[in-house]
Amino acid sequence: MSLIAEMSQKALSLGLPISVHLDITYRCNERCVHCYLDHDDHGEMTTAEIINVLEQLADAGVFFLSISGGEVLMRRDFFEIVERARQLLFNVKVKTNGVMIREKEAARLRQLGVEQIQISVYSHRPEVHDAITKLPGSLKKTIRAIRFLKAQGLKVSIANVLMAGNFSDQAGVIALAKELGVQYTLDPTITPKMDGDRSILALRIPGSALKQVFNNAELVGNVEEFCAPPPAPDEDVMDGYPCSAGHTACYISPYGDVFPCVQFPLPSGNVRKQKFLDIWNHSTQLKEVRSIRARDLPTCSTCAHVGTCTRCPGLAYMEGSMRGPSTADCEKSFQRTGIPSANMLKRARTESAGPLIQIQLPTNSAQDGPFPVATGSPEALAGISVHA
């Protein structure tokens, strides 16, 4: 086990939040077609409030701090926030589109000892990237920023969100990352908007494209191993929890709201009203998230993929239940291994069985209206058959 894995295990056993994702603004200079945020400012935390939160996080034991947005540089106090975070000795990762980073900003990030800068790149072609960000010239500026950051010796990674509209440019982005000498990461998951709007899910890549990703040795390493059928789950798997959300990690919005994860919009408290540690230790929502084990998941506990699935409890929550399946992850497990998930099989059975409720009207009552009159007795409901 690596030292970092040991540290995470220790944090888990001590109930410590080792990792926090802090969005300091939702404002942005880009308008990405797949973005899940509302970019208006509804009352962001002030500089003083954010610094106070950072001090609380340091006292709580947080080590890894991701500072993100929106576009972080839309805040004039961005460097003041990062400077305080580094004084408090956080391992700081900054997520940005890079458009506002020039030589001076890159040098400042280096001086402050930021661990890593993650920059979103959607394509190596301006016409595709800029059509996604809706900001003309954005790819050129983003690539310029990456060069400035690299010249400072900073670690940079390109985050490539895959959508139907840019999937075919994936190899081009990988080549661009190689040319720039930066790490490449991809994310094939488009998430619903934070207000619950699911319309952007239409941008997701189709299953066949996912399969291509999972069979790309350059991305996954040993394809045979990566796509192998899941082993039978043992007791450890059934006693396991799905991810670090709420266990050793959480998310804080620009308005001070605390959630288990940026992808898990379950309001669990607000740092403007309560101390962070009070929320972390006593929130009923976080306690509920922590109480869930694989064996408690009605459908997923019966699934062959239970031990290997990337099931996101936040996406499941957005689909209706934090104990339910996340269909995007069902699809990933299926495309990776060719074995359908328990949820897919269940849905197929339901769909093939026809409608959930069938009503047969008494022959001579059609003239009385479309529904039989139920009097409350079982006999009165005899005309209704239910297909599970």
Binding site: S2, L3, I4, E6, M7, K10, A11, L14, L16, I18, A58, D59, G61, V62, F63, R86, Q87, L88, L89, F90, N91, V92, G113, V114, E115, K155
Partner: protein, 102 residues
């Protein structure tokens, strides 16, 4: 033998977790965990207090270790961390220390 002054590098991330100090270099991402004795030296590395004083006043007091043995272990620890740029070592006080170790 010249006195040693030690200060934590600015290019690190660090946090005390369950009695152990976790330290990561921002330069090469090398990750260290320090035991309780090493954590005590680390937290006292303010650039102003001589290492010998840290050993006498902190290590020997808190852990009931024989002084020469503690000094030898502290010298080795400081050498190792300084090689990774995690600790700065000088025979003169190192003044600037704006970081807070928590």
């Amino acid at each position: 033998m010249a006195e040693k002054y030690i200060a934590r590098s600015k290019a690190i991330a660090a946090r005390m977790i369950g009695g152990e100090m976790m330290v990561m270099s921002a330069v090469d991402s090398t990750f260290f965990t320090l035991n309780e004795v090493a954590s005590t030296i680390w937290q006292a590395a303010d650039g102003r207090t001589p290492l010998s004083e840290i050993v006498t006043d902190k290590v020997c007091q808190e852990f009931e270790v024989e002084r020469d043995r503690a000094q030898h272990a502290a010298d080795r620890f400081v050498d190792e961390l300084s090689q990774h740029g995690i600790l700065l070592v000088s025979d003169q006080p190192l003044i600037d220390s704006s970081q807070e170790s928590r």
